[in-house]
Subunit: 154 residues, 2 copies
DNA sequence: CTCTTAATGAAAAATTTTTTCAAAAAGAGT
DNA sequence: ACTCTTTTTGAAAAAATTTTTCATTAAGAG
């Protein structure tokens, strides 16, 4: 099911601003701020307003098509979300963003924390930051399936 | 070593605004925004400026005495940091924040991710959100050592 | 094609964060 | 304690970000 269908089924209309935001994020492959999305989006859709970018992001995030990226200094970046709960791996060199599944790998840690604190853990926020192969200067390896790059392959 | 010593050794002066920010965060035990810190801080130090709160937070964070808390909707909360790299467990009921060590528990996951993506992982951001014992309505359990509550025990 | 309702864009308002700069105060050395 | 140098402060202004308002436009169901 494509994003338009998902959006539509969730009761939202397929509009130009929303389409543009999706296009832009698709092509970027790394987190973009509302400002950046707006700037790039205008190339496709001249009259695009910044407000609409904010509104589109809010809707798309709610539907799970877009994800906010949290970095130590700024938290205004958005990337395309692959379906399901994924985590984010961010290259500090080029900003390239990869999502990966693996909530399972956290279950041990979570169980441990629950035992020791008495908390009931309901949700988590996990992001990894590092260097991608090109930025490390090493040769690129094949990327196995299930590990999708957010956005277009370069 | 207390925080004043740590700050001092890092080359910073012990000033009233910095002291007030530490006091306020100590007493709160849950994330506070600069605004909130400012409001509470004025009770101790009438002339405290909001700007100084921002500046104090920047310095204290850099020295590792204070940590920023990332939540889905807002990322402007700060808590006292216990020494070392800890993770944050946040109660969505009362906001109570507990830090826990456990970078080790992530090493498996990180190794896995590195193998599959070719990235070299350098840092991570992990936060858990859940319900603390009081907010779940259950009896409070003892909190083992090494699991410190940020701020004052209630 | 029409009609209803959601969504848009522009402007204004509200918030949040940063910059600037003269005055105050930390703290090292008398 | 007192002096001196340098950092730090607080206020105001500026910049940047996000939200609200509202008349107009355009989705998409019928």
């Amino acid at each position: 099911m494509n994003w338009e269908e998902r959006l539509s089924r969730a009761g939202w209309r397929i509009t130009m601003p929303r389409r543009v935001v999706m296009w832009v994020l698709q092509q970027a492959g790394h987190p973009l701020s509302p400002q950046e999305i707006h700037a790039r989006g205008r190339r496709f859709h001249r009259s695009l307003g910044l407000v609409s970018v904010y509104r589109a992001l809010a809707v798309l995030e709610q539907v799970g098509l877009v994800r906010r990226v949290h970095r130590e200094d700024r938290c205004d970046g958005y990337i395309l979300a692959s379906p399901g709960h994924h985590h984010i791996l961010l290259c500090r060199g080029c900003g390239r963003t990869v999502e990966f599944p693996g909530a399972e790998d956290l279950s041990g840690l979570i169980a441990h924390v629950e035992r020791r604190t008495g908390f009931r853990v309901e949700d988590h926020l996990l992001q990894l930051v590092g260097l991608c192969p090109p930025c490390r200067g090493s040769r690129l390896r094949s990327r196995p399936s299930g590990w999708e790059t957010t956005g277009q392959e370069k």
